[in-house]
């Protein structure tokens, strides 16, 4: 008998990992909506995951919150639970479940490319590794994120009379892109869609320097001319974007790898910046964990299952309910 079921239920401690429905006891890998839901009895997560969940759901988003720092094992009956950095967004963690017989690591979402806004991914040796596979095809090989940020900087310099409206997810990607732009020397104010302000303030309150951030709402077309404006992907298509005059529409996402998709989305300035592991990171991480059995939670699992089998590893897709696919999966 495994310590963990295929629906990510940890039987000996009666807890689910990232459950889709409200449960008595939940272990949460990170604060994105498809992993962290409200209404659980108790939530065990990193302090930042809890901080971000409270920001979204309020203090009563769960009956009881229990924060645990990275790499501080806690003993729950026969099971030792340890959270390790996953490098996905602020607070994101892999969860290691350990008994004297078995080590299982659930990755949540992760990446290994540098991200100065958060602690770096730590490979965790284990028997069973439960991995995501959002970009589980060998066509996904993400470029250097600084190079992508340079593309945005060059476009801002080349078209100084146009606004640049970049679609980014409000939690994680927005702050990472801001961090990258600051790193390459962009010091001008960056303007935000209303839905991003809370998340950015949270990052700043945790000591992450994002520079001069301002609200885009209420400003005139002229005031936003030549400026960098960030908004969630939905807002770039809506009325909201009409407040900008002839904006250059960009998007920062791993999906921006595929040109036909970029075109379908009407994106002119694609920035391949991903908070998920690409094909090489997925396969390298599987090797690093030395696990002999791989479970794949969501994404393009077929190719990764095939690759694992080619390496002589046991592999199975989990088909979890409620994980967001495609564009919304960041």
């Amino acid at each position: 008998m495994n310590l963990l079921r295929h629906d990510l239920y940890v039987d000996p401690i009666k807890a689910f990992i990232d459950p889709h429905e409200p449960v008595e006891r939940a272990l949460i890998t990170h604060a994105h909506g498809d992993h962290a839901r409200s209404g659980h009895g108790s939530v065990l997560a990193t302090p930042d995951t809890i901080g971000l969940m409270k920001l979204r759901y309020g203090e009563d988003g769960a009956k009881k919150w229990q924060a645990v720092d990275y790499e501080k094992p806690i003993h729950l009956g026969p099971v030792t639970v340890t959270f390790y950095p996953a490098g996905h967004i602020l607070g994101s963690a892999q969860i290691l479940l350990e008994t004297k017989d078995q080590r299982i690591c659930v990755s949540g979402d992760y990446k290994r490319y540098p991200d100065k806004t958060i602690p770096a991914f730590v490979p965790v040796p284990c028997d069973i590794f439960v991995t995501e596979a959002t970009f589980g095809l060998p066509v996904f090989q993400h470029p250097d994120p600084l190079g992508e940020a340079m593309k945005l900087l060059k476009s801002l310099q080349r078209f100084p009379d146009q606004s640049h409206l970049i679609a980014v997810y409000a939690l994680g990607k927005a702050q990472r892109l801001i961090g990258l732009m600051r790193e390459i020397g962009y010091t001008a104010p960056i303007y935000l869609h209303g839905s991003m302000i809370n998340m950015c303030s949270y990052y700043q309150s945790r000591g992450i320097d994002l520079g001069d951030l301002r609200k885009a709402t209420g400003l005139t077309k002229d005031e936003l001319k030549g400026q960098l404006v960030l908004a969630p992907p939905s807002a770039t298509k809506e009325v909201w974007s009409r407040r900008l005059s002839e904006p250059i529409i960009g998007m920062a996402s791993g999906w921006m790898t595929v040109k036909q998709r970029i075109k379908q989305r009407g994106v002119e300035l694609p920035l391949v910046i991903s908070d998920h592991a690409d094909w090489n990171e997925l396969t390298q991480t599987i090797r690093d964990t030395q696990a002999e059995e791989i479970w794949i939670t969501h994404g393009r699992e077929d190719a990764l299952v095939y690759w694992c089998q080619q390496q002589g590893l046991k592999a199975a897709p989990l088909h979890l309910q409620g994980r967001e696919e495609e564009e919304e999966a960041e």
Partner: protein
Amino acid sequence: MKRFAAFLESLLLTPGRNQKIGYMVEYFRDAPDPDRGYALAVLTGNLSFRQVKSKFLKDVVLEKVDPVLFDMSYDYVGDLAETIALIWPEHGNSNLPTLSGLVEELESVQPAKLAPLIAEHLSSATPTERWAIVKLATGNLRIGVSARLAKTALAEFGGKTLDEIEHIWHGLEPPYLDLFAWLEGRGALPEVHRHRIFHPMMLAHPVDEEKELPAMNPAEWQAEWKWDGIRVQLGLGEAEKTMFSRTGDNIAHTFPDLVKTVNGSAVLDGELLVGRDFMPMSFNALQQRLNRKTVSTKMLADYPAFVRVYDMLFDGDKS
């Protein structure tokens, strides 16, 4: 190659017609000869390398990539050039040849050395450059730019009209040095043989029966039946024949049966039709023969082509 790849990508990602024209004008202005001429040939579908077919490129990739993973990736991406560009596992940082350098290599390389040459370039390139290399090598662009739009940009670049470009277009050859010299005011209008010139046609349009018809004097007019075919212009020369559609595309290769039977030195204006013993069949029947790369014997037998001539624009060199 870097500039050309970025140029192709901009054309693909820009939705607006005017912006696409803007990118092309900018490229024609900034890129050197003969790069810009080869780029123009790529955009207008006038450059192809017989040796490089999709199947050949796929085999080059399968030397380095698992075939099952390749197929899964191709299913997802849906475009062969892009799948190859993205899945290529080696990432060097060496220099790529210029666009014209690559064109010359692909034209002159010995068949046995072609695969290693392409593999070497793919390993030296970024994903977008790889995508451009594959697009260039296979000639299958699919970037939302028609030959006509490219010529429109050319006209804008040189301050000419589209008709002026269309007029000489079929007499020109890549890399179009004489064309660019003329467009930049550094050279004379390129000279081309009469039968290779497209003469823009006056198309038929309806007459207002109440207002215009009474004012028309029958003695000044000649009536022609309006055939339900497509308007064409046949250019007959000693060594070569052309058949232009009304948009100036040379479609002679699609109608070998017809082209074989007309000889001499002239430019004829008429209607292309299909049917046995010069009895026109429906437009639908004619459509069976349009836009085909190869024409089967059965096609030739079922839908033989002929032209109803309206006018002789040139008899020899006399107009």
